[in-house]
Subunit: 322 residues, 2 copies
């Protein structure tokens, strides 16, 4: 299996949604990404926890086969995040952030991590993302970020964007960073800086993929109940990059589009339950089943109003209903 | 050509978006719907304006071939709406509403309107929508509504929903009416009340179609600049119902899905400019061109991770990139 190194937060999350709540659950971007990508590739996690971090959480990761040698255990308490979602689950309020050991975190990659051909830089200080890029020479790199860094460390963030292959931001972050209302135009501005592909995450509305030649829009998987959207974006990234890693990092349009659907499918498991539970018990067979269902969600029969307008399309063999 | 009767507001709109503004422009749900559907079918408009309504606006409609015999001209001023959009164009603030002659409006359908096989009830008081339903016996009926009526006239709104074939609401209205977070579950609750299909509009995020057997998600057309989203939903309805009318009102899954794409395409013209200008100059050839481009936006190659998991899909003949 191909290997992916992921660098990002490992946290204890306290979350309240209209459908329930949890207290100090295993969370963090690197955790969601790792468990998601673990279905597709060998995952090597880089992060930091405090001495208070429950051993059972580390066991959950290692038993799943995730390499935690790069998970530092520092003196102090683990990073804690507390948030509340409104009935429109797209609106999230951060109630409390305790950085704790995460405040002084500097990622250090064990030697065998540095050979991973795939690298995901989850949402952390872009200066730390640059530190990681100095340590590795990955074949395919992907990054995430957030409004706070766009506002406070734009130059460092830009330096990261210029060095990675795939940039992932959500819709409001893309508008904020690009200064452009159109998500497609904003993504194209980012592409001009160097990356091969840009993904705009839109939460319950799915994601958009933009490359030099293509624009692809995928909805979220709409057939399941949503209890807690925490970790959906990082799970999406895990499914997306996991799929690419499984396919040797080919990033032609077709692979990228299929990877987006895998990301959306994997994220659909995450949001069904609080925490990482549903994601952790997901199998590749489960993923495949939902992947196939996706076709039903987006397919429509192509049809010409006037046959001379689109002769090449007529009788293209597309099935009526998938 | 098949005929559609539309009942709804005719207005003078004052709109400000981050990209410009207009003052007392021709607007209103019935106007946007009429101009959109006019590409596909004969449109018969029912509404009311005041004595101050510029004759040029009526000329624009009649010259386009829209039947305005059902447009009452009442003593008083025309309905005026004034709104402002934030940078996230999904957030709209109503600055001022002057109902004027619209306050005492009672739709009266000329006799030849009553034979239209298609009826669109745009967003008006559900009691007026019921009055219209009493006057006609259409083959296919569709309705829109808004938060104000869900809150203030829920029973009348429910009575309308029970009598129409297709219900169109936006995402927040669907959640408000159904009391369900999941848009698909909410739509299914509405289906249980009688309608054959439910459309959930999501603005820049496209639309979802739900029937007893199917869920279909369509993105908005992402390739064009957005200046003013006013009228997008009614233009969507016009393209959607126009397509169905052109196809004799067949509402099997395939027709409904294609109608949704037509709605999205037609709406994409509306939002390119302020007012009805871009919609008015749109031709069916323009629509067809964007309809074909849509396939690029949503198509991905189906592929099996393990061939024995989905033997029926392998080699289904779907093109790699449309």
């Amino acid at each position: 299996m191909s290997a992916i190194t992921v660098v990002g937060s490992v946290a204890l999350d306290t979350v309240e949604t209209p459908f329930g709540q949890t207290v100090e659950n295993l969370g963090g971007a690197a955790v969601y990404f790792s468990i998601a990508a673990n279905q597709y590739a060998d995952v090597k996690l880089v992060g930091v926890v405090g001495k208070d971090f429950p051993q059972e959480h580390i066991s959950l990761l290692t038993k799943a086969g995730i390499d935690t040698e790069g998970l530092q255990v520092a003196d102090g308490d683990t990073f804690r995040w507390s948030g509340q979602y409104e009935y429109d689950l797209n609106v999230r309020h951060t109630l409390d952030t305790q950085l704790n050991v995460f405040a002084d975190f500097h990622p250090e990659l064990p030697d065998h991590y540095k050979e991973s051909p795939f690298l995901f830089l989850a949402n952390i200080d872009p200066e730390l993302q640059l530190e990681v890029l100095e340590q590795v020479d990955a074949k395919l790199t992907m990054m995430d970020s957030m409004d706070f860094w766009i506002e406070s460390k734009r130059d460092a963030l830009t330096a990261v964007i210029q060095r990675v292959d795939i940039v992932m931001l959500n819709d409001s972050e893309m508008r904020q960073y690009s200064g452009t209302y159109s998500l497609v135009e904003g993504a194209r501005k980012v592409l001009e800086m160097g990356p091969t592909a840009v993904i705009v995450k839109k939460g319950e509305h799915g994601a958009i993929l933009v490359t030099e030649d293509e624009v692809f829009s995928a909805p979220a998987f709409l057939f399941t109940e949503v209890k807690d959207p925490t970790g959906a974006g990082d799970s999406f990234a895990g499914g997306f990059m996991g799929f690419l890693a499984q396919h040797d990092g080919a990033i032609d349009g077709s692979a990228l589009r299929r990877a987006v659907i895998h990301g959306a499918v994997v994220a659909s498991f995450t949001i069904e339950e609080f925490g990482v539970g549903a994601l952790h018990s997901m199998s590749l067979v489960d993923v495949q089943e939902r992947y196939r269902t996706f076709q039903q969600l987006i397919h429509y029969e192509e049809q010409c109003l006037s046959s001379d307008l689109c002769p090449l399309r007529t009788g293209s063999g597309l099935p009526d209903q998938a």
